[in-house]
């Protein structure tokens, strides 16, 4: 390719009126005008590549930013927060000199196009985010939503997604300690694949995405750059170059978990030897994002020679290199005298590494190609000063009608209803999925499926650091039906549930991450759902005293005018002071008292009962009671620390009936209980929040009751564990074998 065709800065000056295909890159006319204003000339095609990806919804949060600010503005004061929102991931102080970093991110659309690779690269991406904080990734979770279970396309998507997560996560050696699988017709064509990763680091080890110190070298390391995910960029490349080689540009990225594993070990050794000044993962916007963000947060300038980027496909043009989404790449800023040691470690791990530029104090990001300047921009304008929209929003036209409660007919047969719900795809055992994930690798998993929250012991994660008995617990939750009925309450209920799940293991909830999955922000009704959900989540975080440390927004989850149910997915991280005191899931022995903590009201709006038996979504979701959630968590955390509890399980979808069945199945121990109220149907199937089922040694019951009284948490002794049936006095008796068969056969029957 001759340099004559290269769109250099000089050429941009000389040809001010040349038209660039900004619209094809998703840029609006006014946004393009802004770029011209910033640069005082037309951008080069490479500069346009950078601005178009950095100002995309995905990277700039232009529609969501004005709302997300509430997470910081309303954030509760928390001594635990070491790094807040705005970095690759938040960092939380977990005590004894240790910090945890965690974040959840979506890979929804790619997982629909190519489920296996889409989900796999979703895991890969979030893991690199965690590494870029200087942490060792220690576990992953996945929160998944698909169309109706019986739909043929669900089979394609679910099998591929689970296979991709299994393949990538297992090969990385990260235990999978939890997640969700939900089916609802609204996700057909718009599956949600939200992946969470948690990492551990010493408090004094935090790395930030910054490039200070003129003269420091910029190193690109990991996989070589190929034409992955640059469908859009080829528009640019072919607009200025009449070249036939640009016909085949894949929109699908393929992951190489083996390379990522090497990259993890390589990064950890680099951190340990203190060889990086700043580090950034290469995610959606690749080299564009890494260079502009590193430069913007550092001294402000960087010079990069794009010819030095190692390529998998030698035909790539600079615009394409800038936009390539090739996986398993990282960028580090390294002091010149450390470069040889840096390169040695990369070589030891077989990780290719190349110096592609250096930090300057020019305040400009300057890139060259064939010796000519093709990019010369103030990096902050791309990284931080993207457009911000105040999108209009209003309550959906049908919202009022939707919130009118309907009196659903009650079932005649509660036993049959329990079994019907227990075998329904959303409540059935997820073993078909979870058995494809390695939950044991690295030997620090204290809790994984079927526990309400995953738990990791931290003392042995990294050698040579302060000894500790602590562990961290994590749960993710979301309920799109609740959020559809009331997005404000729905987001709060998602938080409440994740918070409760963490507390149910004995851990103290500390911090929050979230993935906000919505339809198009250009639809004012969707935007209203979004605004309400963010407001609800921010308010609830303040009341519960848990700050949002980070997260991700996924818009445009819709087909035509049909948006998915608004689906805020919330992840909560907690700490337990002594992992050995964790509460195990369900009924763990015979002869324990079965105790229900929390009150039950008649609440069926958005419930599984209404969904499975009547296919109705109407009314209002269960009432949010954050004060009660907080008191309940205090009881659980104290009771665990005092060793009062032998087992627990939170009440959520399907209510007490499903909680009892799952508690029995956890270890194969039956129970005999009497319902606390007067209405068996409500007692069994209502989905009131702020409730947990616990199992306690008879002699410890008094102490538990006292603790509950002190925290004003209602406490009902329901019966005892033992036997081989679930017995609800005067209502039903179901042998565990029948429960198990009903619970376990559904997904294997559908998915093979």
């Amino acid at each position: 390719m001759s340099a004559r065709h290269l769109d250099t800065v000089k050429r941009a000056h000389d040809t001010p009126d040349e038209a660039l295909p900004y619209a094809e890159l998703g840029m609006k006319p006014d946004e393009y005008e802004r770029v011209r204003a910033i640069l005082g000339r037309r951008p080069t095609s490479s500069e346009l590549a950078i601005y178009s990806v950095m100002w995309s919804e995905h990277c700039s949060y232009k529609s969501s930013k004005v709302h997300l600010r509430q997470f910081a503005a309303k954030a509760p004061v928390s001594a635990a927060l070491l790094v807040g929102m705005g970095e690759n991931a938040g960092v939380v102080d977990i005590g004894d000199g240790w910090a945890a970093t965690f974040k959840i991110e979506s890979h929804n659309h790619p997982s629909y196009v190519e489920p296996h690779q889409g989900a796999a690269t979703g895991v890969g991406g979030i893991v690199r985010d965690i590494m870029s904080m200087g942490a060792r990734p220690i576990a992953v979770m996945d929160s998944l939503r698909f169309g109706g279970a019986a739909e043929p396309d669900t089979r394609r998507v679910l099998s591929g997604v689970v296979g991709g997560i299994s393949h990538y996560g297992n090969c990385l050696g990260l235990p999978n300690i939890g997640g969700e699988v939900v089916f609802d017709p609204c996700y057909l064509g718009n599956p949600l694949v939200n992946a969470l990763c948690v990492g551990l680091l010493r408090k004094d080890q935090i790395k930030l995405a910054t490039a200070p110190g003129p003269g420091n070298r910029v190193v690109l390391f990991g996989a070589r750059t190929g034409a992955d995910g640059i469908g859009g960029a080829s528009v640019l490349a072919s607009a200025t170059f009449e070249d036939e080689s640009h016909t085949k540009r894949p929109a699908v990225q393929v992951g190489d978990p083996f390379m990522e594993k090497l990259l993890i070990e390589c990064c950890l050794e680099l951190f340990e030897k203190d060889l990086v000044v700043g580090i950034q993962d290469l995610g959606a916007a690749g080299v564009s994002c890494a260079t502009t963000e590193l430069a913007a947060k550092g001294t402000g300038g960087m010079a990069v020679d794009l010819d030095l980027v190692p390529l998998r496909d030698p035909t790539l043009r600079p615009e394409e290199i800038l936009m390539s989404e090739s996986q398993e790449r990282m960028m580090a800023v390294v002091a010149p005298h450390d470069v040889p040691a840096f390169m040695d470690i990369c070589a030891r791990w077989d990780v290719p590494a190349t110096v592609i530029g250096e930090v300057t104090d020019s305040g400009r990001l300057v890139m060259t190609w064939n010796g000519e300047v093709i990019v010369d921009i103030p990096p902050g304008t791309a990284a931080d000063e993207g457009p911000v929209y105040e999108r209009p929003y209003h309550e959906p036209a049908g919202q009022h009608a939707l919130n009118v409660a309907v009196d659903l007919p009650r079932p005649d047969d509660l036993r049959a209803t329990l079994l019907r719900l227990l075998g329904s795809p959303n409540l059935a055992s997820k073993e078909w999925v979870t058995s494809q994930y390695d939950r044991y690798v690295r030997g620090n998993t204290v809790l994984a499926q079927p526990a309400d929250a995953g738990m990791i012991r931290i003392s042995e994660v990294m050698p040579g650091a302060t000894p500790t008995r602590r562990g961290i617990a994590l749960a993710t939750d979301g309920n799109g039906r609740y959020a559809k009925l009331d997005p404000y309450a729905g987001a709060q209920l998602a938080l409440s549930e994740a918070y409760r799940n963490v507390a149910a293991t004995g851990a103290r909830p500390l911090a929050v991450t979230n993935c906000l999955n919505f339809g198009s922000p250009e639809d004012p009704e969707v935007m209203w759902q979004f605004a309400e959900a963010v407001r609800g989540l921010a308010d609830a975080c303040r009341t519960l005293g848990v700050p949002v440390t980070g997260g991700n927004v996924s818009f445009y989850n819709q087909t035509g005018v049909n948006a998915i149910n608004p689906t805020p997915v919330v992840g909560v991280l907690g700490v337990i002071d002594d992992v050995a005191k964790r509460i195990r899931p369900g009924f763990t022995a015979e002869g324990l008292r079965v105790v229900l903590l929390g009150d039950t009201a008649e609440e069926f709006g958005g419930s599984e009962y209404a969904h499975v038996v009547h296919q109705r979504l109407a009314g209002l979701p269960p009432r949010v009671d954050l004060v009660a959630e907080r008191a309940l968590a205090s009881v659980l955390v104290s009771a665990a620390a005092d060793g009062l509890l032998e087992g627990s399980h939170d009440l959520s979808d399907g209510g007490l009936a499903i909680a009892l069945a799952e508690a029995c199945l956890a270890q194969g121990v039956g129970c005999s209980v009497t319902l606390p109220g007067h209405d068996a149907f409500v007692d069994l199937f209502s989905e009131s929040a702020a409730r947990v089922l616990v199992a306690v040694r008879p002699e410890a019951f008094g102490a538990l009751a006292e603790l509950c009284a002190r925290h004003e948490v209602p406490c009902y002794g329901l019966g005892t564990t033992g036997g081989s049936s679930l017995i609800v006095e005067e209502v039903m008796e179901i042998p565990l074998g029948e429960l198990r068969l009903t619970h376990e056969r559904t997904l294997p029957e559908i998915f093979g």
Binding site: V113, E114, A223, K248, V254, F258, D313, S326, Q327
Partner: protein
């Protein structure tokens, strides 16, 4: 009875991590002149009666290959 071979390879522009891992391993085993390796799948299919090329193509498209990332070629061996 007809025999059909369907070869399925990743599209050339798609990353082939397996092929690359093999290519990197070969020099260590003393095979120094290998410039590139791509790994794909080969299906041997036995058909009752004559093979119908259109039918096999459909089979390859719908089941054997993932045409989002893979190409295939068909060979009939009557």
């Amino acid at each position: 009875m007809a025999r059909v071979i369907v070869d399925v390879m990743l599209k050339p522009e798609i990353l082939d991590p397996q092929g690359q891992a093999i290519a990197r391993a070969l020099p260590r085993l003393g095979f120094s002149r290998v410039a590139d390796v791509r790994q794909g799948k080969r299906f041997e299919i036995e058909i009752d009666g004559p093979a119908d090329e259109a039918e096999i193509t459909k089979m390859a498209e719908t089941l054997l290959a993932n045409t989002v990332i893979e190409d295939f070629t068909i060979r009939l061996e009557q």
